[in-house]
């Protein structure tokens, strides 16, 4: 089995999601080649062939020429699978390639089973198992679904590629993420403070962890009532209902009013000294510890990742 993995370069960086694609290929025991529109000095770490096009010429978003470049490589490598990350780059480019090749694309793969690919359906409430009917198959992998592998000391053999395809869409540059007003309902990661934080100064511990994780901080009702945290950060029946990927409940016992506002979170970590606190019922992980010691230690370690 042969796979062509598509790495991504953005704004001066090689994105780490290539390591998950490498992990997936390893799990499938596939032979690999990697495709990248990037630069010579930032290469993914693996053993094998890297097809490299110059990002200076082909830009970071230029689906027409990226597609043309990929087609060249597919013709040469004849891979069984062309694998993207299900990222803004992957879901944009993958269908273009699939159509040009006349093959199927399976989006947001989370697992492999019975020679088929498993993907989420209905907001991840269901799973669908899909079989490809085409000679080759384009896959996009859900971010985080497969374990990344890291080969610190290996470097690929670089084979430059080029094309003179004229683009239809013209990339003009980036706009930085907006700062300002918080909307917890849109946050992918929320770290929330409960009564257990003890005093207003400790909100800083919570917000520091949120920042280190790239998320937002929230609070339970008592903390907001005490005016330690502003109301638009309140989670619960009288605050926001949230459904982040990760919800870290710090010093929150788990009153039903609070649970109602966060029970749809995908993964819940509770930090509490009371192992029988009701929050433990819906937590995926309960850390029995004093949050004033544990959270700063955790934040420090996450920062240094």
């Amino acid at each position: 089995m042969k796979m062509l993995l598509v790495a991504e370069y953005r704004d001066g960086k090689l994105l780490a999601n290539i390591n998950e694609l490498l992990g997936f290929a390893a799990e499938m025991s596939a032979d690999i080649a990697v495709f990248l529109v990037g630069t010579n000095d930032l290469l993914p770490k693996f053993q094998g062939q890297l097809y490299l096009a110059d990002v200076g010429k082909h830009l970071e978003y230029n689906p027409d020429s990226h597609k043309a470049l990929l087609l060249q490589v597919v013709e040469k490598e004849l891979p069984d699978f062309i694998v993207f990350s299900h990222s803004s780059y992957g879901w944009d480019l993958a269908p273009r390639l699939a159509f040009a090749l006349g093959v199927s694309q399976i989006s947001e793969v989370v697992a492999v089973a019975e020679g088929c690919f498993v993907i989420p359906a209905c907001n991840a409430k269901l799973r669908r198992q899909v079989k490809s009917l085409s000679l080759r198959t384009v896959l996009t992998l859900q971010v985080g679904a497969f374990s990344a592998i890291d080969n610190p000391d290996t470097l690929p053999t670089v084979l430059p590629i080029d094309t003179d395809e004229v683009p239809h869409a013209h990339f003009q540059g980036y706009e930085a993420a907006a700062q300002g007003g918080v909307d917890l309902t849109k946050a992918g990661i929320i770290v929330s403070a409960g009564r257990g934080i003890g005093k207003p100064e400790n909100v800083a511990i919570i917000s520091a962890l949120a920042k280190a994780l790239g998320g937002e901080y929230g609070a339970s009702r008592p903390v907001v009532d005490a005016q330690w945290v502003e109301h638009n950060r309140q989670v619960g029946t009288t605050g926001q209902s949230v459904a982040p990927k990760l919800y870290v409940a710090c010093g929150i016992s788990g009153a039903i009013q609070h649970l109602a506002g966060m029970k749809k979170s995908e993964f819940v970590v509770a930090v509490n000294t009371d192992r029988d606190a009701p929050i433990s019922e819906i937590a995926d992980v309960l850390v029995v510890a004093d949050l004033k010691q544990f959270i700063p230690a955790l934040t420090e370690k996450i920062r240094s990742l």
Binding site: R221, T237, T238, I256, Q257, L259, A260, K263, E281
Partner: protein, 381 residues
Amino acid sequence: MNFELTEEQNLIRDMVREFAETEVAPTAKIRDEEERFDRALMFDRLAELGLTGIVFPEEYGGAGADYISYAIAVEELSRVCASTGVTLSAHLSLCANPIYLFGNEEQKQQFLAPLARGEKLGAFGLTEPSAGTDAGGTRTTAVKDGKGYILNGTKIFITNAGDAETYVVFARTDKQAQKHHGISAFIVEKNTQGFSFGKKEQKMGIRSSPTMELVFDNCRIPASQLLGEEGQGFKVAMKTLDGGRIGIASQALGIAQGALEAAVNYAKERKQFDTPIAKFQGIQFQLADMATQIEASRLLVYSAAYKASHGISYSQASAMAKLMASETAMRVTTQAVQVLGGYGYTREFPVERMMRDAKITEIYEGTSEVQRMVIGSALTK
């Protein structure tokens, strides 16, 4: 016979529900606590969505929809905020509708169209200290004087009062006539000299809907603002209230539905003895009874609304709908508080507000006793 809503009715329900949940619900609690009427939200937004003139023809600024659509709109608003529901009901059923039914063409253009478009808010002044249910007891007087009438008297418990621009008011034009004869209806505008507002009521429920006294002190009204014929006021009032009952019945239905949903959600989450209380038969039976009574009320309300839209006599139907829906609302909200237990009694959950809001539906626009009188006398006449 067809029990399915039309595509339009379904779309209207979806639209009003989405609006109610995203814009009205978030402030329902705080408006109740502050006893604050938020006109921009509770009326101006309704106008933008075309809800303030649902049942009236387009030539009078309405949307040309039917009474079932109206019932659905009031129900959906009341499901999250009974005060917003009654604002619309009093405006449309009690003020705009009598002008539509009894007004002449000029009155419809001058008064109905701005009401239907939601540029003006309407209210209805019938009740007096000595005349509530008994409209015949009206003591406010309107004395003919040259080309107009001079009004004197006081109206109490008037929904939308103070904020409304247009009022349909009842006064006695013939002091000699007995009981319900000799009463006439008038259209009175805010800021008319001699028309002012008395005290604001402090109420148990629907606290975000303003309720005030109207005071007429030698208030001169041009004859062109007489609604219907002189002496026809009692008929105007009774016809208006027939329609108003559909509005209040829909409000009650919405309150009950909101309370049921709150109770069901809570029962699925709340655990006792390691089991969600929704799994206990005692709770399930209560929820089943609540849901069944609500569905029975809904059928009565929609059937009365259907009759109103199709020119079928509906006094009795609207009385039955209001009686059933309001008593259901009271019972269901009380049970919802019980299902939520201690939490239900706190103001953190909405069911205590719903229980307070429900009570008025058994009282205004004809108490339950009056509805029984209407139904009973129709049966035995």
